[in-house]
Chain length 381, copies 2
């Protein structure tokens, strides 16, 4: 993706036009499906949306982590249009509001984020680590397994690195990677592009080849009220038991893993980060690398009290203890800085990453994974 | 799935109610996502839809291959509801029409069928061959490859049978399976459940373990106008070249295949069936089993003229030559019967399947795959 000189300010002055002054420089966004022409993206990063609703009185576009809202303009054929300045880097959820009714864009692919959402892949100048490059590519597998804890078949997504199917004598370390309260097991690859991030890191020899296992973070035992999304009580007990007793043994049996704690990591975004903190720290016999992406315990918690009490003793038990958050997601970045103070005072070694100018959104978590993955499995081998 | 005694007639008499007489017997449909309560399905097969649109004057439900349309009723909270009789067996696309505007149901998962569509999995009494049963399960892989023909990275979906990753000395035959003009490479598994159909057939020893390779059927060379959907000229030349020169060598290099014509099949639905007929019959050095699901050449075509001229000689070159269509998709079933007459007159052996009471829809194609797959790779070994 080319970094162009056209500034965001210039782009902003061109915004709000119903149709562009000229049609040069516009192509379909990568998130626009084959039977649609819109949304389009300009080489300067502007986005052009269109939605046909001849009888509507007002159609608005709402986009991004800050829910920025634009009034669209209707042409004589009943198509509502808007050209907007670059909405922020990378992956942006959006929808239309048609006379007050929220409607997903029929022109874009859908993703799972607190329900079905449309999204557009916006420019991110200087960030090409998640693009499909001419490098060897791993596979993403949809894998069914039976959980004795939930007493049901469940689906996980598994990334196997390039050459996994040809280097049949090689065994690999495993990163267990979790989504947030809004997503499901597909989103780390579909919205997060975890597979492409790893393909690129491995090709550049920045990260060691590894397997990534992505499960649905909602689990309940038969008879328990099923947790389903934001606002659910943060009871990870069934998920924890399932991960340790069902998932890891299934993966170690069916994939060529190195089945020990030195070669097992856990990370997650938002709720998945909270799960990583809680489950990872209470199972240091299972995991040795932990990554919390915009997901730290917000109040007191048992593992937090425990590790603060352990202090420097914890350092011998963790190869990587890593925290990342976006600088514009106030609650999360503030908590991360607060924890950093507590950990430093207690002598606990950790690493901290601040994603400049991003919020509680996938661009933050792509950057986190791109920073975190290269640190994994480089000690304790 | 239980076959209940409640008749469709009784169900019909209960339809059009805004809310059910009692709430017993209703559960979320399997296609309803975790943050939604609707659509619901009753044990007797009725479906209950709900959509919140307080300011709308009229909300309608449109569902199924025949586009049956129902007016919904608004309650005091602005939620529109409808309970409908069983809409037909299995997988049904549907949407809402809100004062004339087509809106997908935010409560259901989306699929790709001439754009993004919501769908509901309805009952299909007596059909359990595509359900998730307690049998060994294969994986579905998303696999990126570089096509020299299109000069781009492309994605395919690949089903590997149970034990593929543990029986490391076993090699497998391959079925190349194509979607129709409305779909993409994901739909044979997401809407079609091809992986579950094969898991069940393999568990019952009705089908031999095989790999299934599912590609996007739209391909164009750089500079060519990209074909994108229904109504496109039926020029399969770039796809044909890509399949033969890029896809098959990639699969034979990276998967444990038996790389000869006796162990290679091709099949497809609708446009994919037409591609199978054209590409398969002109590459009998590559394929020996061909399946056309609701997809036969509608007029004269080169391979059709050629095989009619060959007559009985063709029988030695094809292990399986198979046609299937639904009895209520008139154009396709009529053409299939017409071809049958022509083939029988020419002495060409083929097999014909008629899916009772289904149209140009996935339930027809699930049944086709369930009938076709057991016939594969049982001769010529």
């Amino acid at each position: 993706m080319k970094l162009l000189l056209t500034s965001a300010l210039l782009a902003f002055s061109l915004a709000y036009a119903q149709t562009p002054a000229d049609t040069a420089g516009w192509t379909k966004a990568t998130t626009t499906h084959r039977l649609s022409e819109f949304p389009k993206i300009h080489t300067d990063g502007r986005l052009w949306f269109q939605f046909k609703a001849p009888d509507a009185k007002l159609v608005q576009l709402r986009i991004g982590a800050t829910n920025k809202t634009y009034d669209m303009q209707k042409d004589k054929d009943g198509a509502w249009s808007i050209i907007i300045p670059p909405p922020g880097p990378g992956f942006q959820y959006y929808w239309f509001i048609v006379d007050g009714l929220i409607v997903m864009d029929p022109g874009s692919y859908t993703y799972y984020s607190n329900g079905i959402k449309t999204a557009v892949e916006a420019q991110a100048p200087g960030e090409d680590y998640y693009l499909t490059r001419n490098v060897p590519h791993g596979d993403i597998r949809q894998h069914l397994f039976y959980s004795k804890v939930t007493q049901s078949f469940r689906r996980m997504f598994i990334y196997t690195p390039p050459d996994y199917d040809t280097n049949l004598k090689t065994r690999y370390p495993v990163l267990y990677l979790q989504h947030g309260a809004g997503e499901d097991e597909a989103e780390w690859t579909s919205a997060g592009r975890a597979h492409l991030i790893l393909d690129n890191l491995i090709a550049e020899k920045k990260a060691v080849p590894m397997i990534i296992v992505m499960n649905n973070g909602f689990a309940s035992r038969p008879g328990e009220t099923a947790a389903s999304g934001p606002g659910v009580a943060r009871n990870f007990s069934a998920f924890e038991q399932m991960l340790i007793q069902d998932v890891i043994p299934d993966i170690d049996a069916k994939f060529r893993t190195i089945p020990d704690r030195d070669h097992r990591a856990m990370a997650g975004l938002s709720m998945g980060g909270m799960q990583t903190f809680q489950i990872g720290l209470t199972h240091l016999d299972v995991f040795s690398h932990l990554g919390m992406f915009s997901g730290t315990p917000q109040g007191a918690s048992k593992p937090l009290d425990d590790i603060l009490a352990q202090g420097v003793a914890l350092n011998k038990r963790l190869h990587v203890f890593w925290f990342g958050a976006g600088t514009t997601e106030e609650r999360f970045i503030n908590r991360q800085r607060e924890l950093r103070g507590m950990f430093e005072k207690a002598g606990i070694k950790a690493l901290y990453f601040e994603s400049e100018g991003t919020a509680h959104e996938f661009q933050t978590w792509r950057r986190c994974l791109n920073q975190f993955a290269p640190l994994l499995f480089k000690t304790g081998r």
